[in-house]
Amino acid sequence: MKRALTIDTSTARTIVGVVENERVIWSDFVEGATSHGGALGELIGKAQGLADVDHVIVGMGPGPFTGLRVGIIFAQGFAKARAIPCIGVVSLDAIAYSQELSDETVISIDARRKERYWARYEKSGARISEISVSKSELVPSGVDDQLPTPLGLARAANNDRSIRREPLYLRKPDAALAPLANIHLRELRFFDLGEILAIERELFPDPWSLGQFKEELSFSPRLRYYIVLEDRAGETPRIAGFAGIAFTGPNEPVDIHTLAVAKEYQGRGLGQRMLDHLVEKARALSASSILLEVRDGNEPARALYAKNGFTEISRRVGYYARFGDALVMEQKLDNPSTSSGGDA
């Protein structure tokens, strides 16, 4: 592939360029476009050297969603019409490749709502961290609010790590989900395992196998207690989430072995609902405390447990093999039976 049409709409600037190897044949931009739609048409109408374009490169964000999508779908349409490939790249990486970096640097752009999109880059412009959205005051300073260039976009397309098929939304849509009216909690049954494995694989980088689940359940009901949340709203019930604990006896800790909510049901308090139920169960079992392990990078889960009075008591380095450390969290239960000497 020789000549690229490059497009980026991840910032307030609509950028179009024609780049051949390291040479910019033509480029122009429109500043302050609100929708990018009209600006893209205007720029493409003026562009030179389009006849020999043999691939399209488009910035996939992060950036404001509406404008981002316009650039992506436009680029894909152009490529499809010409029957040439369309390569999506991380726009933030393109900004890095558009700069002369003096050293390892954090590059960030405004994400609105007092937050910033950011990532860490090495001198060559290659990204060495995940891309995050964080509160502005938490983002290390570095190269702030720069823009991608056609050349930066073309360079990003040469790095596998910068290539991206889906837009980088990094945020959920701002909308309140409708209340779930038909969610029922019940004990897990053996024939739930098919659905549960699917959720497990969807959520976790190191999912449990069917064999591991079977082994867990073989301890039930004397040493294990597993529940599911079932959505009975549709024609056939679906499992929305599941959780399980292991326990030994009174005045011993209860261990939360798993707690999972299927992606499409997340953000609607279902994790909390299962946790409430498990805490109640732990109290009924006269447990001294509740323990659990959570992967270091699993921020939503850590936040849920912290909110519920769990504190971090230790870190197991490399617990999740390739996937990082485990944090051990604990919640002490003021068990009346413990203070009165125990009668359970």
Partner: protein
């Protein structure tokens, strides 16, 4: 003859359906739709951001299906037509973005068209265009239009002051505990009820004087009806199954009675003896029954496109684009911007 007819790609993304249609002249070659309605159901209504994400994901797969069904290739097209309004801004932008990208790549003209006009133009796939009154009823619109010429002469006689008819259906369905989208469920429930059981109000049918009649004769309002239904349910909290069906049937009757009465009044007023009903609510069984009953009495020719062509779809956009090409109307600029609040007077371009 067919090979000289313009081959037009139609793209519709104004709400939650990704519609891609292919029309050659007046014949329909493909009409593929991807809907995000299941996803929207989680939110209890259409959320623009959720819809826009779904459009982006569904756009090219839906286009590929349409090309396969229509047995045509992108390079064969003469023009692309795309909805530029009215509708939700985020979703519209996905459609126009894709359409302009394709048009730029192919080097063919693009027509940014009016969604409401497209609802009417779809009839050209089944009948020769003639002057008609159009009643557009869906979750997004409720209007009565006087259509003398689809390309150049469309006048809105009235629209709704508050909810669209389909919206009112969805809201009452929710009060009755029916799943989203509620319209079809309510229609089904109503069949088991007595439509005369409860006398719900007919909005905007009584006028103090001729001046008020002139201003509101073809307008709608469903808020009074909605609160009347809500009040009735509040007073009767323990609904039996048959009472629920009666509420559904009586509410539905109040809506379709007003819709049809005003549509036929518009025929009479304008001297146009054709009525076209389109939009998602045109699928409502009671609306169809009452409209054909009244059409016969009024001597009006009633046309309701097949259900797939009534709801939002790409074929209707392609049909309107084909009519514009045939009429020699100048295409839009490639720098096409969306217009979420596009009025009907701007029927094309």
């Amino acid at each position: 003859m067919s090979s000289h007819e313009p081959l037009v790609l139609g793209i519709e993304t104004s709400c939650d359906e990704t519609g891609i249609g292919i029309v050659r002249g007046k014949s329909l070659l493909a009409n593929e739709i991807a809907s995000s309605v299941a996803e929207q159901a989680r939110y209890g209504g259409v959320v623009p951001e959720v819809a826009a994400r779904a459009h982006l994901e569904a756009f090219y797969p839906t286009l590929d299906r349409a090309l396969a069904t229509g047995r045509v290739q992108l390079k064969d097209f003469d023009a692309i037509a795309v909805t530029r309004g009215p509708g939700l801004a985020g979703p519209l932008l996905v459609g126009t973005g894709g359409a302009t990208g394709l048009a730029a790549g192919l080097g063919i003209p693009i027509y940014g068209v009016n969604h409401l006009a497209a609802h009417i133009a779809v009839d050209s796939l089944e009948h020769e265009p003639e002057p008609t009154i159009a009643l557009l009823v869906s979750g997004g619109h409720t209007s009565i239009l006087e259509v003398r010429d689809i390309n150049s002469d469309i006048k809105q006689l009235g629209s709704t002051f508050d909810d669209a008819a389909g919206e009112a259906f969805d809201k009452i369905a929710r009060i009755l505990g029916l799943p989203f989208p509620g319209g079809p469920h309510l229609d089904r429930l109503a069949r088991e009820g007595d439509r005369d059981a409860i006398d719900f109000p007919r909005g905007m049918t009584l006028f103090a004087d001729e001046q008020e009649r002139g201003a509101k004769e073809f307008s709608f309002s469903f808020s009074g009806l909605k609160s009347a239904v809500a009040r009735w349910i509040e007073k009767n909290p323990q609904l039996t199954d048959s009472e629920r069906a009666n509420v559904a049937a009586s509410f539905q009757e109040a809506v379709v009675d007003v819709l049809t009465a005003k549509a036929f009044a518009a025929c009479k007023r304008t001297g146009i003896d054709r009525l076209l009903i389109a939009g998602g609510v045109a699928a409502n069984s009671r609306l169809r029954a009452l409209a054909s009953e009244r059409a016969e009495r009024a001597g009006v020719t009633l046309t309701i496109p097949t259900p797939e062509l009534c709801t939002d779809n790409g074929a209707m956009v392609a049909a309107l684009g084909a009519l514009a090409v045939r009429a020699g109307i100048a295409p839009s600029a490639l720098a096409l911007d969306v217009e979420p609040g596009l009025p009907i007077a701007a029927a094309s371009n």
